[in-house]
Symmetry: C2
């Protein structure tokens, strides 16, 4: 592992699909900000991008984050400030790809995650190796029932869905993001 992985996470609230497969925008939730920020901080993510085109949702996200970075939350729980300081709120995935490119000095490999199968798969060990080789990566997660089809036209490849012994795969995005970051960046030295 290079001293510092160059990996960003993006959580997309629009465009995503609902249970019926219709393209929608979902609401930002407090726990998606907190749990995924804590996982990002644990696994050395550079920026956690929260993507929503809705101005009121952007304001709400900023208020939540500022409570922990500047308000009472900062003194009550400084560990949380350390995690939430990784969050940046943006309107569209294209902006995020552009800012990630500017920051890392080259185009990041944009990798989607999904609960179903998609074409152009990349395996977890193969992506882990790219990260260890210093390749910048942007991991894209969808809320609701997953990323809208148009998002997949912007990505280089997709990680396989997470399965246990059966075929149930309705993990929360918080769980899926945690597991995927562990598979790609988790320390295995202590077994």
């Amino acid at each position: 592992m290079t001293s510092c992985p160059r990996v960003d996470v993006a959580l997309v609230h629009a465009p995503v699909v609902n249970r019926q497969g219709e393209v929608i925008g979902s609401a930002v939730t407090n726990l998606d900000l907190h749990d995924i920020a804590r996982a990002c901080r644990t696994f050395g993510i550079d920026t956690y991008w929260v993507i929503t085109p809705f101005v009121r949702q952007q304001e709400l996200s900023a208020q939540i984050i500022s409570h922990w970075l500047e308000g009472h939350g900062k003194t009550a729980n400084p560990d949380r400030a350390e995690a939430l300081s990784l969050v940046r709120v943006r309107a569209r995935l294209d902006e995020v790809i552009e800012e990630s490119r500017a920051k890392f000095g080259r185009n990041p490999v944009v990798v989607a995650t999904c609960a179903g199968g998609q074409q152009e798969m990349i395996s977890y060990p193969a992506l882990r190796q790219k990260i260890e080789d210093g390749v910048p990566v942007l991991l894209v997660f969808g809320t609701g029932w997953g990323l809208a089809p148009e998002v997949y036209t912007r990505v280089a490849s997709t990680l396989p869905p997470i399965h246990g012994p059966g075929n149930y795969n309705h993990l929360s995005v918080r769980s899926a993001a945690s597991i995927i970051l562990d598979r790609l960046l988790g320390c295995r030295e202590n077994g």
Copy 2:
């Protein structure tokens, strides 16, 4: 892997410790029920035990679960019913160990999880092998700032804490449980 792993998960709300290390009881939260039940269902867990000695908290948990098993939630989202049907609410860890023993026909190996270091560690590959050999296992997770010291007197061993490239390890219990279930039971066939 045997066709069906014999693994239970217990989420302890008392006794746990707070930020100051004092022994307390924490409140049951809706998302701990949902996210961990969905991860349990994904990874083939037999029973997800929610442990709280507080009667009002037991009632609240039962109400939440019943909404999804019998109420409007069941028709709106049957996948969620499938996950929450794994939940059993009990007052104390001792009861859970006894019921788990009765169900599996032998004493389960009781394994704690923690964010700090504890003695009598078992590695993830070693515990994964035990599970594949059909040994019944009860995985114990703490809420708040972790399991109270007295809980460690009841366990056979402890899994190492989860780390990324750095030393920050303030994952939510929802993230930690998801990652640990994936390390022990996740399918690696698709990479």
